[in-house]
């Protein structure tokens, strides 16, 4: 097992290298650079040319990539051209809120998605199944921004309720500390987590339902029932564990998304997340920021799939890595 993990981690190095090269080329292929959106007659075009040379935007692409690689190998993510601040600070500033929102919505997804999925599968073709399936379709088809706006209007801005804050992740200028601070963040978290989680709940529920139905048809389940085991034991002890295999895949694949943020939800709720930052950096061709973020996403994607593979071994004794 240990050997396997080490091997997988070592494999990541060349893949990561290839990924950054690919990402670099794709980013550079997009027309424009950090200065091309500055269409303001008072911004000095000659000075802009000087800055392009200063940031080596006029250098040959292999040299630009080499410079970036050298910097990364020294553990420096670089400095944003437009934010004029170090990229690592920019990411760290937003990591906490991003993870808070990501984990909260993910918890929501698992807490509701799995039980509802099991329920729908066990009570297949009952009114409960139809209801949850119907709701799942609604949840999958409703656009996140629209659901977000509905939540804000309904629960934050007084029609009909004014229970929760409408935006931000803490009360502006309140300077809270200790428990009050955490409660404040919690109150701000509810609506965005709901808005972000709803699609996930619906999606996971459908996965679990399908997978559960499949497992319930298996021979060993029939055998278990034939042994005279109670429904509860059959479902929760024998079937569930196998039915959750796809959930592990989802969890593994969700890792980069957890850190990557959710641009739409972040925008509607003014959540200081990495998603919005990525979007801004993309529009402004802020190369150092884009490269650092993509490197991070690539790394997390690979770690996520490794974790998923390890997770399989954990749940399914038939799978062994050596």
């Amino acid at each position: 097992m240990g050997k396997y993990v080490v091997r997988r981690l070592l494999q990541m190095v060349p893949i990561l290298f290839g990924a950054t090269l690919l990402i670099f080329m794709v980013i550079k292929m997009a027309p424009g650079d950090p200065f091309s959106a500055m269409i303001d007659p008072r911004m000095d075009p000659r000075k802009i040319e000087e800055l392009r040379r200063l940031y080596c935007l006029d250098c040959p692409l292999p040299l630009q990539y080499w410079n970036w690689l050298k910097q990364i190998l020294q553990g420096d993510l670089g400095t944003s051209i437009r934010f004029k601040t170090s990229v690592s600070t920019m990411i760290l500033d937003r990591l906490g809120p991003t993870l808070t929102l990501g984990i909260a919505s993910e918890l929501l997804v698992f807490l509701f998605g799995i039980p509802l999925g099991i329920l729908a599968a066990v009570k297949k073709d009952s009114w409960l199944d139809y209801l949850t399936t119907g709701l799942a379709f609604a949840g999958l088809s409703i656009p996140a921004f629209f659901f977000g706006l509905l939540l804000i209007k309904g629960f934050a801005l007084g029609s009909p309720f004014k229970l929760l804050p409408s935006s931000h992740y803490l009360t502006a200028g309140a300077d809270l500390t200790g428990v009050d601070y955490l409660v404040d963040i919690g109150r701000h978290l509810i609506l965005p987590a709901l808005a972000l989680g709803i699609t996930g709940v619906a999606g996971l529920m459908r996965y679990v339902r399908t997978s559960m139905l499949e497992v319930l048809k298996q021979d060993y389940v029939r055998t278990a029932r034939a042994k005279g085991l109670s429904d509860k034991v059959v479902i929760y002890k024998h079937a569930l564990r196998n039915a959750l295999m796809p959930v592990i895949t989802i969890l593994g694949l969700d890792l980069p998304a957890l850190v990557g943020g959710a641009i739409i939800t972040e925008s509607i709720f003014i959540w200081p997340g990495i998603g919005r930052m990525t979007y801004t950096a993309l529009l402004e061709r802020d190369y150092p920021v884009l490269m650092a973020l993509n490197l991070m996403f690539a790394l997390l994607t690979m770690l996520g799939s490794l974790l998923a593979d390890l997770g399989y071994a954990l749940v399914d004794p038939r799978i062994r890595y050596d």
Partner: protein, 578 residues
């Protein structure tokens, strides 16, 4: 709708007029003497980058904050004329080349240190320094000897590009030319006479210079010991120290900026102790304003409908310093024909755009000067009122007479056709593209529209010039000098490919005179040339619309400068302080 809009405008105008004579807010019958206390919640739609350094920032959102924290030597009065801000008085020499400022007495930075002319000189010297990483150097090229130095820098840059010189050697030469300028000309260009008195001298009289000198002043005692190239890393770039009515407290990334009043503010101690600039979502902002979560926001024309019956919200609408246009590439065989461009101006129903897309909150443009600028005079211009008939006549005159099976005009077997690029982002502009397409189709012009992301589009247009026609806007400043956009020797002036000797003459002449009354006739004549030539098909200028909670905020005197210009005089009645 139109009538109500006019009444609204009239009310705003009356309010503004009334306010310039009386100091109390006429809209509020039970207003008493101002009281201190409360928190003012302003809003903006995008997060600032956190570059709160006047000489380094690039985004309007950063400038919102900078505007409250810093002051320049000059500011504008209600007629948008330059008056003293940090200065006590200023004087232009008889030869129009030297401006001398005397600073106010006892001016203090937010950290308590005195403001001196050293700070002023430091601010402008920093922007000229070769290591400066901002984009404002060009504004000061008129100072004695500076243009020569900048031209040398530019030439060395071109030599680097042509591989005639290495970057290191060029940097050495640039440093030498800077040292030379500092030694020979800088004392003449920026002359610190004493702690209070400073004079700026230009090579030639240059009118826009007053506007450029109005720039926010940064503290020398804070930044002085830092290398200019490293100024962005200085903590005071993130947590600025200024002279303005509000002191910077903190910026919670992507959330809000907190400011507290400056008790020593030279215009008077502000009544409201705390100002919080919240970042809000544009689609949610209006409801937050109505719910009282924010007290101020910029509004779209289409949202006014939702607020107009709300007695607690006051709308302040002003003409803007920008306008939207359809640019044309003069290398395009069809579009370089003036008759075709004029025909398009007649064929595009721009009045309908202002009415439908801007709900009347805007002006149809027929030349380059937008209505907010004092050199604007529409009376002398051809209005190109919507007239498809006239458009077709002009096209026929240009030889476009035959129509093909699809109803498009042809000449020598070629269809009257071009591609119109437009950027995503500005909703009104996005909506105008299909209108233009339909209007032009009606007179037989085939327009293929293509939406592009902003940076891609600007690269296609300004760097590669691979376009037929495109939609975009110019945002201008107070001084009417159009040189940066219409002199063909600089980047923006090159883009259309249009040249006109008389236009260049007039633009240069316009900057040599300093008095607005002497400059205006020049610009009126110049605007007429553009109005006839149409290097751009001018579309519209959208008003700036501000929405304010007038039940909470008292002491507003909205005028041409907008709603927030006298923020230190704002106050909140005790019942609303919560």
């Amino acid at each position: 709708m139109m009538k109500r809009f006019l009444v609204g405008l009239l009310a705003v105008a009356l309010l503004a007029a009334g306010c310039s004579t009386k100091s109390s807010n006429t809209k509020d019958p039970d207003s008493t003497a101002p009281v201190d206390g409360g928190t003012l919640y302003l809003s903006m739609f995008s997060a600032p980058k956190g570059v709160f350094n006047p000489i380094l920032y690039e985004d309007q959102y950063d400038s919102n904050v900078i505007g409250l924290v810093f002051n320049g030597l000059l500011r504008t009065n209600e007629k948008l004329e330059w008056i003293c801000d940090l200065c006590k008085s200023f004087e232009v020499s008889a030869d129009n080349k030297t401006v001398t400022f005397i600073l106010r007495d006892n001016l203090k930075w937010h950290d308590g240190k005195l403001v001196t002319t050293k700070d002023v000189a430091f601010t402008f010297m920093s922007m000229l320094h070769p290591d400066y990483t901002g984009v404002r150097t060009g504004d000061y090229s008129a100072l004695v000897g500076v243009e020569e130095m900048l031209a040398e820098r530019d030439q060395l840059g071109a030599d680097i590009d042509a591989k005639k010189i290495s970057k290191e050697d060029a940097a050495k030469k640039i440093k030498e030319s800077w040292d030379k300028w500092v030694a020979n000309s800088s004392k003449q260009a920026i002359n610190v006479i004493d702690d209070k008195k400073i004079a700026f001298t230009t090579d030639e009289p240059y009118a826009p210079f007053l506007q450029n000198l109005a720039f926010s002043i940064i503290p020398e005692h804070v930044f002085g010991s830092t290398e200019i190239g490293k100024m962005a890393d200085h903590p005071a770039t993130k947590t600025p120290i200024g002279t303005g009515p509000y002191k910077f407290v903190e910026y919670k990334t992507d959330q809000f900026v907190k400011l507290e009043r400056n008790d020593d503010y030279f215009m008077g101690k502000p009544h409201i102790p705390t100002v919080i600039y919240k970042i809000v979502n544009q689609d949610v902002g209006i409801t937050q304003l109505q719910a009282g979560e924010i007290d101020y926001m910029l509004s779209n024309p289409k949202d006014i409908e939702l607020m107009k019956d709300d007695k607690n919200i006051q709308i302040v609408s002003n003409p803007d310093f920008g306008y939207q246009y359809m640019g044309v590439n003069f290398d395009h065989p069809i579009l370089k024909d003036k008759l075709v461009r004029q025909a398009m101006a007649y064929a595009i129903d721009r009045q309908a755009m202002v009415k439908a897309l801007l709900q009347g909150y805007g002006t149809v443009m027929n030349s380059h000067m937008p209505p907010a600028i004092w050199a604007y005079d529409a009376s002398q211009l051809n209005a190109y009122a919507y007239d498809p008939q006239k458009a077709q006549e002009l096209l026929a005159q240009a030889g476009w007479k035959e129509k093909n099976g699809d109803g498009y005009l042809t000449k020598d077997g070629k269809v009257l056709e071009f591609t119109l690029l437009y950027p995503s982002g500005n909703k009104v502009r996005e909506a105008s593209a299909p209108l233009i397409q339909a209007n032009l189709k009606a007179v037989g012009i085939k327009v293929n529209t293509e939406m592009k992301e902003f940076a891609s589009l600007s690269t296609t247009v300004f760097d590669e010039r691979k376009m037929d026609a495109w939609l975009m806007g110019w945002s201008l400043s107070l001084d009417p000098d159009p040189g940066s956009i219409f002199l063909p020797d600089n980047k923006w002036g090159k883009v259309t490919g249009w040249t006109n000797a008389r236009s260049e003459e007039l633009i240069k002449e316009g900057t040599r005179k300093l008095k607005p009354e002497e400059r205006k006739p020049i610009y009126v004549e110049w605007a007429k040339i553009l109005n006839d030539e149409l290097p751009y098909v001018f579309l519209y200028s959208q008003n700036t619309i501000e929405a304010v909670r007038s039940d909470k905020l008292k002491g507003l005197k909205p005028d041409a400068r907008g709603a927030l210009w006298n923020i230190w005089e704002f106050w909140i009645p005790e019942s609303k302080q919560k």
